[in-house]
């Protein structure tokens, strides 16, 4: 645990030692603000809830979360510091979890900085704050899922750009797999895959959080999704660390 926290703390401080953290937070807030107020029709709907805010969140994450994870391993490889990190008395699993926690902590902070939305709806009306809290919890889960995917992909390459592009592509697959256009196509051609696609869709699971539903099934889904990708990350690292 000490090793995990040590790695997480170093990684977390690393975000703020470069402009990356601030650029990310500003872009995230601007994007979320613009989407919620213009495309989401926050005022026009005349409803005291944050549905327009949460509606776009997974898609903003698809684009931005890989930007947080792309450096995690790719940069270590490029600098050669991976050799230093993995010859300290830590297991690879501890290093993977430490980095993941740092990235998650950072994303949760970015998410927390959207608090003015919560204040706004509370000033304008009487929203169901329990539902909003559930939405935020779901958002943290979605972020965790995408971060785990992005971190694993980052371990594949020395190039942050490649890590970013692969991360966006893979996160998009998991976000979009329940789209009617995808499931219709699959159920016509490969009905088995259509069922799987609907089951693994991150956005579908997120929607139930947004509606205020926190179920054990969804929690287990996100936990096992994150665990799967952290294990994948460890395996990739084991096989490719010295390449």
């Amino acid at each position: 645990m000490r090793a995990i926290l040590g790695i997480a703390a170093r990684e977390f401080a690393g975000y703020f030692s470069t402009p990356v953290a601030w650029v990310f937070i500003v872009i995230f807030l601007v994007l979320q603000g613009t989407l919620t107020f213009s495309m989401g029709g926050f005022f026009e709907r005349d409803q005291a809830d944050l549905l327009p805010f949460f509606q776009f969140l997974p898609w903003v994450f698809v684009l931005l979360v890989p930007a947080i994870t792309m450096r995690l391993w790719a940069e270590e490889r490029r600098l050669g510091t991976i050799e230093l990190l993995l010859t300290l008395p830590v297991t690879q699993g501890q290093a993977v979890v430490g980095k993941f926690l740092a990235a998650w902590g950072f994303t949760v902070i970015a998410l927390a900085l959207t608090f003015p939305f919560v204040i706004t709806v509370n000033v304008l009306g009487h929203p169901d704050n329990g539902m909003i809290a559930a939405g935020y919890l779901g958002a943290a889960m979605v972020a965790g899922a995408f971060l785990a995917v992005g971190a694993a992909v980052s371990a594949l390459t020395k190039s942050q750009v490649v890590a970013f592009v692969l991360g966006v592509a893979l996160c998009f697959v998991f976000a979009a797999s329940a789209f009617p256009v995808v499931t219709d196509f699959l159920s016509h051609n490969l009905p088995v895959l259509a069922t799987i696609a609907r089951k693994i869709s991150i956005v579908d699971r997120f929607q139930s959080f947004v509606r205020g539903l926190i179920t054990a099934r969804d929690a287990i889904y996100f936990a096992s999704f994150i665990l799967f990708w952290l294990v994948a990350n460890t395996v990739i690292l084991e096989h490719r660390k010295a390449d």
Partner: protein
């Protein structure tokens, strides 16, 4: 994995059998047993075996690409061997990796350090990972700073430092926990003559309590600080003995001539 093995010559089919230094020793802190690494069809390290006892400073020599760094990476548990294994103070670097690394101070090739961190921040990180906290961590970090003469730059980000300073930051990290085993890949590369001298003095001072392996291209360094030298060419150990004795094997009596004579044919054949 050979759990039961007879000590001595059987372990050292090539270099060891010809050398009195190949004997398995009870106080061997570093044991390398039949270590082999293949990358596809290319064999980078080919059945290398040797041991290093407490008090020994082993100079690890060889042309570029001979397999020095790969051997050291396997010893540090970073590269997984194709076959064979290594032990640090009795801990297998594969099956008991974390325990082995606790007893190891490792300076990787090129002395990589996180560029955005300050010197002291980086050493505090290493101390924390190694399980030091509070006053103990402060003492270890201060001691490492002073051993590597880094006090003057402690608050500077590593990326602003010169090559020599960066190397010393890597060195400070390797010394931080006062490990019984030091594996230093080119510790004096990029240092000026004064700094080289300081590092050699430091190594000589630590030598009695530790088993140390340093790789280097500077042969006079080997003669200055090493009690023993191993020359490796095309992944195989081709010579093993005290530097003075190795030098005498060549008619000229110079280690450099001996090195050239012994490594060139192999390099061409490979």
């Amino acid at each position: 994995m050979p759990l039961l093995r007879s000590p001595g010559d059987a372990l050292f089919p090539r270099a060891g059998s010809a050398s009195p230094w190949g004997k398995h020793s009870v106080n061997a802190l570093i044991e390398i047993i039949g270590l082999t690494k293949r990358f596809g069809a290319f064999t980078a390290v080919d059945d290398v075996s040797f041991t290093v006892a407490r008090g020994e400073v082993l100079g690890f020599l060889g042309p570029n690409g001979a397999g020095k760094s790969t051997t050291m990476k396997m010893l540090a548990g970073f590269v997984t061997p194709t076959s064979g294994t290594a032990r640090i103070n009795g801990h297998d670097v594969q099956s008991d990796a974390v325990a082995a690394r606790r007893e190891l101070g490792f300076l990787p090739e090129g002395a990589p350090v996180y560029p955005e961190m300050t010197v002291i921040g980086f050493l505090r990180f290493a101390a924390r990972i190694r399980g030091f906290s509070g006053g103990e961590a402060r003492d270890q970090v201060d001691q490492a700073l002073s051993l590597a003469t880094l006090e003057g730059v402690r608050h500077l980000p590593v990326e602003t430092l010169s090559k020599g300073f960066k190397r010393r930051v890597g060195l400070a990290q390797a010394l931080l926990h006062d490990p019984p085993v030091l594996v230093l890949d080119e510790p004096t590369d990029g240092l000026d003559p004064n700094q080289k001298h300081e590092v050699r003095t430091l190594i000589a001072r630590m030598a009695p309590d530790k088993a140390i392996i340093i790789s280097t291209h500077i042969l006079e360094e080997v003669e200055a600080v090493c009690s023993r030298a191993i020359i490796i060419a095309a992944g195989r150990v081709v010579a093993d003995g005290p530097p003075g004795e190795l030098a005498r094997r060549h008619p000229s009596g110079k280690l450099e001539e001996m090195f050239r004579a012994i490594t060139q044919p192999q390099a061409e054949a490979a």
